[in-house]
């Protein structure tokens, strides 16, 4: 089941279109990555899902119901540009924000206590926010976002501003929340974390969605039958043994140890290639090179941008 479906969302501002006919389906209890370069329209889309702004056309459904103000309590949002009231005490502020999300005061207090202890920040309750470091403030913001146990958690660049240790804590919390049944939508530039965390992604560029689907499928779709073989033995013998199964690409020989990339010829299988080279050299490792999300991201975005520029020229 999809926890959230956006259908044909369009958002226009005076001079440009921020989102152009974008549709998304976010399956329940999964982690969904919203990717795209700066200015692609990610934040505009996230704001529409949070009902901060409204779309010019298109509809959004939350658990098959049309999105309405009552759903606010089931969504937690950590914006990219985030802050707190500087002069307010940490605990008081967290309570206030939790109550705005519809929590009862005593309930919020109890849960805050749990989270503050978990993140080892219970000593900060009466401190003013301005006395806290940026990383500390981000911890507080994260707690406030997840406190009301939202079904859908929207995190805009959640790792920016965290040091590696805290980023790891947050990453583990995200996985934890997923295990407990939450769905997480997060936007990021950090492709490493996408491969590690996301089940599904959508790539947005220039207001339009250009790819979406599960991370596994997308990577499979973009792989190009390129293999890497490490072996010891004679380079010449190895090249000869490829026959027609593959073409030698980049290679590196370091004495007896060689590493070579082989492009499989269409119609051949990896097994044919492997059994053919087995007789010539001693294989150390054999693996398929699958493109990283980072490669796909750069490839697709620059592809689209160059088409865009070309069409601009012809106009």
């Amino acid at each position: 089941m999809n926890i959230l479906s956006a259908k044909n969302i369009v958002k226009r501002y005076a001079t440009h279109t921020a989102i152009d006919d974008v549709s998304l389906d976010i399956p329940a209890q999964s982690i969904f990555g919203l990717l795209g370069p700066n200015g692609a329209g990610k934040t505009s889309l996230i704001r529409i899902i949070n009902q901060i702004t409204g779309p010019d056309s298109g509809e959004i459904f939350f658990e098959n119901e049309k999105l309405s103000p009552k759903h606010v309590e089931q969504i937690g949002y950590l914006p990219e540009e985030r802050g707190l009231y500087k002069k307010m005490e940490v605990g008081e502020q967290a309570l206030y924000l939790a109550q705005l999300k519809g929590m009862k005061k005593f309930e919020a207090k109890k849960k805050l206590k749990y989270w503050f202890e978990k993140f080892e920040i219970d000593a900060w309750w009466h401190k003013k926010v301005e006395e806290l470091s940026k990383g500390m403030q981000q911890k507080v913001q994260f707690i406030v976002t997840v406190l009301h146990e939202p079904k859908l958690l929207i995190l805009d660049e959640p790792f920016s501003g965290f040091d590696p240790i805290n980023a790891n804590i947050i990453k583990n919390e995200i996985l934890n929340l997923k295990a407990q049944g939450s769905t997480i939508l997060f936007s990021t530039h950090n492709m490493g974390s996408v491969e590690e965390l996301c089940d599904n992604i959508a790539l947005i560029n220039r207001s339009k969605k250009i790819i979406d689907g599960s991370v596994k499928d997308i990577r499979k779709q973009y792989k190009s039958n390129l293999f890497e073989i490490e072996f010891t033995g004679n380079m010449m013998g190895f090249t000869n043994s490829l026959w027609t199964f593959g073409k030698l690409g980049e290679y590196k020989a370091d004495g007896e140890m060689c590493k070579a990339q082989i492009q499989l010829t269409p119609g051949s299988t990896a097994n044919q290639l492997l059994s053919s080279v087995l007789t010539a050299v001693e294989i150390q490792s054999f693996k398929e090179i699958v493109p990283s999300m980072n490669d796909i991201f750069i490839k697709k975005v620059s592809e689209q941008n160059s088409i865009g520029t070309q069409s601009n020229f012809t106009e």
Partner: protein, 446 residues
């Protein structure tokens, strides 16, 4: 609705708990009462009796200058040179020298030499006494009856009684000066209140925008709720401060009146008795002063004749509605800009009507029922100030009702307009905002 209450509560408490608020609330009344009481109290202070040695070369005044509780006169038979030579060895604070030719145009030669400055009232006393005596001597010398003059003077001085007659034929005493005073004080208070708290709303909005907390809050509430919550919260802060000021001032004044000022009535009574005792004597010093108790009483009576309850109710209305009208605009400015420096270009057009209203207050007072007064007490941007100036003079009920109705419409429409600018501006960063841009925002959808 519940969420608006939460916002109001936070806005209210976070401001009321501030040290600056508490300080202002306490210092305000102390300052106000202080300004009223300290001069009275100071003037009542029993200062040490000052001693003056009188060298009277004219021999007209020797032994005759009236003694007073604050000043004592001695008349040693020495010359001015002798007196001055030994001045610093004597106990005297001052030497009063009256030259010989004082009756023949030498009155400007009267000198007071002092080592310690005499109190103002002592100096005045000396001046009045001598002037009075000179006047009497002059008249007597020319065989004029002093009593005749006093009588003529008494019978020719008057204060005109002005009476307003209402439709029912009832008389109502009026006091233009008092009305001007009440109107002006009310107008100043409204003007200051709108500015002070309008700017607080603007700062609050900017704080939320620049600290970037606004996006988190807007994922829970509508922009309009956040804006209204702030405006109402700050309004309550203003009302609290105003109320506390009134209560504290009244208490302080009451306390002061019961302790420090208790003697003042006694003194006035004494003064009256003295006048009676002096009787026919033409008393210059008291001429000016003995009218005071009755004048104050008169003023108090007039004050009571003004319909203070109505004025107070109207004041509260214009106070709040005017604030609501302007604070919505201030909130819109706060949302549109990124920094305090950018506020100036937008502040000016908003403050001009307010300053203008205050500027024409003087003219309105001269002619409270004129065209100018009428129209500017109808236009919502100026009516809070201008109507308050007019009110004490009496304004027909239909005009008040119309003005109030227009003001309500006014603040509903500014709030609506401001809401549109607010919800776009609050999420817009790093963009230089122009008037044209603001205009576009009005037409953005949700």
């Amino acid at each position: 609705m519940n969420k608006i209450l939460l916002i109001i509560k936070r806005e209210y408490l976070s401001r009321v708990k501030k040290k600056s608020f508490i300080l202002m609330t306490i210092l305000g009344p102390i300052l106000m009462v202080g300004i009223m009481i300290v001069p009275i109290w100071l003037s009542m202070q029993k200062t040490e009796k000052q001693k003056v040695e009188v060298i009277d070369d004219s021999f007209l005044f020797t032994g005759l200058i009236q003694e007073k509780d604050i000043v004592h006169f001695d008349y040693p038979p020495i010359t001015i040179e002798q007196a001055r030579a030994g001045f610093f060895d004597t106990e005297y604070d001052a030497i009063l020298w009256i030259p010989k030719n004082v009756l023949n145009g030498g009155q400007n030669g009267i000198n007071l030499f002092y080592k310690k400055q005499l109190s103002n009232s002592a100096q005045q006393h000396i001046q009045y006494s001598i002037s009075k005596m000179l006047y009497e001597v002059m008249l007597a010398k020319n065989k004029v009856n002093v009593n005749l003059i006093k009588d003529a003077k008494d019978k020719s001085t008057f204060t005109m009684i002005t009476t307003q007659v209402d439709e029912a034929g009832n008389d109502k005493k009026t006091n233009t000066g008092l009305y001007m005073g009440i109107g002006l004080v009310a107008a100043i208070m409204i003007y200051v209140f709108i500015f002070m708290y309008g700017v607080q709303v603007m700062r609050g909005v900017m704080e939320e925008k620049t600290s970037r907390i606004v996006e988190v809050i807007l994922s829970s509430v509508k922009p309009f709720q956040l804006m209204m919550g702030k405006i109402v919260g700050v309004a309550l802060v203003g009302l609290t401060q105003f109320l506390l000021w009134v209560i504290l001032s009244a208490t302080l004044y009451g306390f002061a009146a019961a302790t420090i000022l208790k003697d003042i009535d006694m003194k006035q009574i004494q003064a009256k008795e003295e006048i009676i005792k002096i009787g026919e004597n033409l008393d210059f010093e008291k001429m000016g002063k003995n009218n005071q108790p009755t004048e104050i009483a008169q003023l108090w009576n007039d004050f009571k004749s003004v319909d203070m309850v109505d004025i107070l109710l109207c004041f509260l209305f214009y106070f709040l509605a005017g604030y609501l009208l302007y604070s919505a605009l201030f909130a819109a400015i706060g949302a549109a800009v990124d920094s305090e420096a950018e506020t100036n270009q937008f502040m000016l057009p908003i403050t001009i009507p307010l300053i203008f209203a205050f500027g024409i207050a003087q003219t309105v007072m001269q002619d409270p029922q004129g065209q100018l007064a009428f129209w500017f007490s109808m236009i919502p941007l100026t009516s809070p100030v201008v109507m308050m100036v007019r009110l004490p003079f009496g304004v027909p009920p239909w005009e008040i009702a119309l003005s109030m109705g227009l003001l309500v419409l006014g603040f509903l429409s500014t709030t609506w307009l401001a809401g549109k600018i607010y919800r776009t501006g609050i999420l817009m960063y790093g963009k230089k905002i122009t008037w044209k841009e603001l205009g576009k925002w009005l037409f953005y959808k949700g």
